[in-house]
Symmetry: C2
């Protein structure tokens, strides 16, 4: 695995591979890598002969008062994990490589940015769309892998690629969970022991929702009411939202049908966690 | 010259050329082509072995009450001129090819969009940046040619390419003028005979400003005052703005130095015309 920080070295390595007819896979991350990230790297290896992983804690997707400064960073650990997972190139850009001096270009994907994370974290998705567009420009992958864990972000990236006609295949990797069902997240390290135990309510409530749909429930309001009640029964959980949305547009559905996502966000103490279930309902 | 409307056919033709190692040049236009556009096609031919020209009157860069509906269209004439000028592929997309159904992605380049056209035409530059990004995604040129006539747009496109790390060389083509000095523009057809004569004041005032700088003037305020007075002396001209700006950022300069642009905009009746002078001042 080679590690590069400069645009020029990145382009050189990627151009060399492409010149040999290789297919370039890309996994953008903010580091603090866990098994969820590594599963995306493995997935990229299945879709490409070379895998580029970026580690960049993107300041523009954090709001004022959010956890940008204390977001977990572990470059040495990340590098070892990526080398072991078969990453070919670790891209570690400085902020002014992503955002050149004088840079004022911003990308927004209005539709899938509406509501949910877009409402709870104003500006977040403009930061995400902008950094993803910049990284796509820098890396120029044939295929890029994103986690289903950040389901609204995934919908946004798919729309961005469609709308800007980028020749990049987007592959989604399923959520990877701890043994007790908690979705893996770099932010799980913020949780105290009691919060950590309480946080499993997200997965339990989503599993119940999935079972209800499989048993025939098609009314999103009734489903969300039950899901919210289950989360409310956990004293350490503070629900921010729960809904049933169409997977592609991330707009709430009136009846549960087609490919839907049930996104939930809740705070446990000062830690916000996301989880979701994804279902195809015929 | 081949003419295509569909994304698929466009990509197929460009991929075929690229597979042979050809370099792809691109000139985006809104049609109603005149000698100014054709000079950009010739310039593209010097920088590439294949030239793609798009004709698309982009609705998102027109404001309410602007001339989108009556913007001159002459597809037959355009097609004949492009074939004669050595265009290899004429791309004639429908709006839903550029903006796929459900498309909500918007690109803005804040810095160079501030002031001047960005102020006179709210939303204009977001429409320009978005359509240019979409066209770049569709065509994937190695080099794209833009006219210096739209100087602020040129600054925006250069910033867009830098900020999104697009591997596209931007080449600028000088303003092409009528015999009496009027800058060629598709909107010149709107001018009545008296307005048409009056409109030459733009070029005359810019020539005087250029001469003043060559004679040593370095104070932008004094230069702009004289330029504005000269335009005001023409009863049919209504000046919207005149300034001295840095060519790259399009921000007004405090002292005339480096590469500067003197943009002017004026109305003649209901027709808005742009012109500018570009100078390198040591």
């Amino acid at each position: 695995m080679i590690t590069v920080a400069a645009e020029r070295e990145l382009r050189h390595a990627v151009a060399k591979w492409r010149g040999r007819g290789e297919r370039i896979g890309f996994v953008p991350t903010m580091g603090a890598l866990h098994a969820g990230h590594l599963s995306l790297v493995e997935l990229a290896r299945k879709h490409a002969s070379r895998v580029v992983v970026s580690v960049f804690v993107n300041p523009t997707q954090f709001g004022p008062g959010e956890d940008f400064a204390r977001y977990p960073r572990d470059l040495e650990g990340d590098s070892a994990k990526l080398a072991a997972a078969g990453c070919d190139l670790l891209f570690l850009p400085e902020a002014d490589t992503i955002y050149p001096p004088g840079s004022t270009t911003r990308v927004r994907v209005e539709g899938p940015s509406r509501g949910f994370e877009g409402e709870c974290r104003p500006g977040h998705f403009e930061g995400v769309a902008t950094v993803v567009a910049a990284l796509f420009g820098l890396v120029r992958p044939d295929v890029a892998v994103f986690g289903e864990k950040d389901a609204q972000q995934l919908a946004l990236v798919r729309a961005l690629v469609r709308d800007l006609h980028l020749a990049i295949e987007i592959v989604a990797g399923p959520i990877v969970r701890e043994e007790d069902g908690l979705a893996m997240s770099s932010r799980n390290v913020y949780l105290g022991p009691q919060e950590r135990r309480a946080a499993t309510v997200l997965q339990r409530s989503l599993a119940a929702a999935r079972a209800a749909i499989e048993a025939g429930e098609r009314d999103p309001a009734r489903l969300v009411d039950r899901l919210a009640a289950q989360i409310a029964a956990e004293p350490l959980a503070h629900l921010e939202y729960a809904a049933v949305v169409a997977a592609d547009t991330f707009r709430p559905v009136e009846r549960i049908a087609g490919e839907v996502v049930i996104p939930v966000a809740a705070r446990f103490g000062s830690t916000r966690l996301l989880d979701n279930a994804r279902l195809r309902v015929d």
